[in-house]
């Protein structure tokens, strides 16, 4: 059977990562995380929480863990092969640079997707066996949105992998990205918000619409919004957040897809102009 070179490269990436046990290790981490959060995550009740509460408890952990895993998997995708010398051999084959980028994205994306699906799925089954009234659809939406945010950060990592001339610089860039989206950007946004509205407005939960639109720059905020809107979560906050009427689960998912498309396009453009 003749496969598209992208699929052959993707298959090789999966084989390579199965061999170095990444998939198994990550799946176990995700499953353990789900189970631990479900059992110990609530300060109000003891024992197993239902899937909805578990999701709310897991959101912040996922926002820390999934991006770093995606960045670690992807930052060396191109630059490591260039540094090792295997990229020149790959590029001498009848395959284009576009196919290589797509192959890498599909392969590494499959690893992230499989680990999240297996890890969270296994954790979800254990929870479902211990609690009643399990909402499987909500949990599936949570898993899919987590895969989506993983793919956004994977695309970012692949772009950084094409951007720099050294693997070490790409790794530094990936770590910076993680800090930027997890720490720096939220602090900047919070600073802007505190300067713009009064403390009493903040206590009322009155968050201006412009601010909500501004936070869409950060894919982690989009991910949070997506789950909050689609699953009607309030993350245990005292005041519930009211979103602009335009906001919807579909819009948030669309923004995350847009991130992926733009970053993959930029990676292809950059790789096409890169000397190997």
């Amino acid at each position: 059977m003749i496969l598209n070179p992208s699929l052959i490269i993707a298959k090789k990436e999966i084989m390579d990562n199965i061999r170095n046990k990444w998939i198994i290790i990550l799946s176990i981490i995700f499953a353990l995380l789900t189970v631990v959060v479900s059992y110990f995550g609530s300060i109000y009740t003891e024992g197993w929480q239902d899937l909805g509460t578990t999701i709310a408890g897991m959101m912040s952990l996922v926002q820390f863990l999934v991006p770093i895993i995606a960045l670690v998997l992807g930052y060396g995708a191109i630059i490591s092969e260039i540094e090792r010398g295997s990229m020149s051999a790959l590029l001498s084959q009848p395959t284009s640079r576009l196919e290589i980028i797509l192959g890498k994205f599909i392969g590494l994306g499959a690893i992230i997707s499989i680990t999240i699906l297996v890890g969270f799925g296994f954790g979800g089954i254990i929870i479902a066996l211990n609690v009643s009234n399990t909402n499987y659809v909500d949990y599936l939406i949570f898993i899919l949105s987590t895969i989506l945010i993983g793919l956004v950060f994977l695309s970012l990592a692949i772009f950084f992998s094409t951007l720099f001339k050294k693997r070490s610089t790409a790794m530094g860039g990936a770590i910076f990205l993680w800090f930027f989206f997890n720490m720096i950007l939220p602090i900047i946004f919070a600073g802007i918000l505190f300067m713009s509205i009064s403390f009493s407005e903040l206590l009322d939960g009155t968050i201006p619409e412009w601010y909500q639109y501004l936070t869409l720059i950060n894919p982690l905020s989009v991910y949070s919004n997506l789950n909050s809107i689609a699953l009607n979560l309030n993350f245990g906050q005292a005041v519930s957040i009211s979103y602009p009427s335009m906001f919807s689960g579909e819009l948030m998912a669309g923004i995350l897809f847009l991130w992926i498309i733009v970053l993959i396009f930029l990676s292809i453009w950059r790789f096409n102009n890169k000397d190997v």
């Binding site: 070179p5 084989m15 010398g85 051999a89 001498s92 084959q93 395959t95 000397d275 190997v276």
Partner: protein, 339 residues
């Protein structure tokens, strides 16, 4: 009736040399230039890094079915040229054609017929030799059986299911050669094919190169081992400081440089009258003395005169050998000693 003959106009039949101002190359005639234009597959191209011209107006043709050796001192632009041929780096001007396909525009199609052994051979360490080779075979649409046969041919059958991460440098080089000839490519580009190989490996790779030539492949080899290049190549190209300074067969380049063959004459004893007698022979370029052996650089037709001169001076010849000018001499002359 007496016939009248007009004097043939010799001037009009003699072709006029043609100088290509762009590539700064001199051709025997306009026709020779046009024929070269039709056949050549690498047209004057340039690669500039910052302000440095790594490759400057390099232009040449590799004939179908020949082994073309590509030489140059370190940093002369050999690897940059190879990477340009394979479209691994973007060239600043010019065009490169392989099998009449322009590599920058029809690269995917052209690469179906190209095999490449890079200077720095690398594979995926977590995969076995067979898995690695089969990955490339799938892209080239070659079979798993061919992969197994190549692994066997290159003496790696015992390591076929071993992870490449555990391979020695020589084994990786052999596997790299297997990858380069996978799918019977019509053009094979080899960058330092003997790197990291033991003598047995060197012979194995050399035999494979010859085998591929016999199958009709065109082979482009870059190597530092000049004796190897001289032994296997039909023609050579020499690059120095980014410029192609010579391209032809070793014998033609030797003639162009007026390099004379050397006669190595071993004598029972050497005395001053023998040396004086040889130096007196017209056509002797150079005379070196090593113990009881004389090395005389001269035209082939002067050889007999040298022998007669030795015998007249009372010398007894024990052994006599003729050495053709070596590629090393040609290389040194064109590159200024590689400095």
């Amino acid at each position: 009736m007496a016939r009248t003959y007009s004097k043939p106009n010799i001037e009009s039949t003699k072709p006029k040399p043609y100088y290509d101002t762009r590539t700064r190359q001199l051709f025997e005639s306009r026709e020779a230039y046009e024929e070269y234009q039709r056949q050549k597959n690498i047209e004057a191209f340039e690669k500039i890094y910052g302000k440095v011209k790594a490759v400057d107006n390099v232009s040449f043709n590799v004939n179908k079915g020949e082994i073309f050796g590509f030489l140059g001192p370190n940093g002369a632009g050999k690897t940059t040229t190879i990477k340009s041929i394979l479209d691994l780096i973007n060239i600043n001007s010019g065009q490169i054609k392989i099998n009449n396909l322009e590599i920058s525009k029809q690269g995917k199609e052209a690469k179906k017929k190209i095999g490449y052994l890079p200077e720095k051979v690398a594979f995926y360490d977590n995969l076995t030799a067979l898995q690695n080779l089969y990955f490339y075979a799938e892209i080239r649409n070659a079979s798993k059986e061919e992969c197994k046969k190549l692994i066997d041919d290159l003496g790696l059958s015992e390591a076929i299911n071993k992870k490449v991460g555990k391979f020695s440098k020589g084994m990786i080089q052999r596997l790299g050669m297997a990858r380069a000839i996978l799918g019977n490519p019509s053009v094979i580009i080899l960058d330092e094919p003997s790197g990291g190989l033991d003598p047995r490996g060197v012979v194995l790779i050399r035999d494979k190169i010859r085998e591929m030539k016999d199958k009709g492949s065109t082979i482009f080899v870059s190597s530092h081992i000049l004796s190897e290049i001289q032994e296997i190549c039909d023609r050579v190209g020499i690059i120095d400081r980014g410029k192609l300074v010579a391209k032809d067969s070793v014998s033609t380049l030797s003639t162009k440089l007026d390099l004379k063959p050397k006669i190595s004459i071993e004598l029972e004893a050497i005395n001053d009258s023998i040396i004086k007698s040889i130096k007196g022979v017209k056509g002797v370029d150079k005379l070196d003395i090593k113990d009881k052996t004389l090395e005389v650089a001269c035209e082939p037709k002067t050889k007999s005169k040298v022998i007669v001169a030795i015998e007249k001076a009372g010398g007894n010849i024990v052994n006599l050998k003729t050495k053709e000018p070596s590629l090393e001499e040609v290389f040194m002359r064109y590159t200024g000693g590689g400095k």
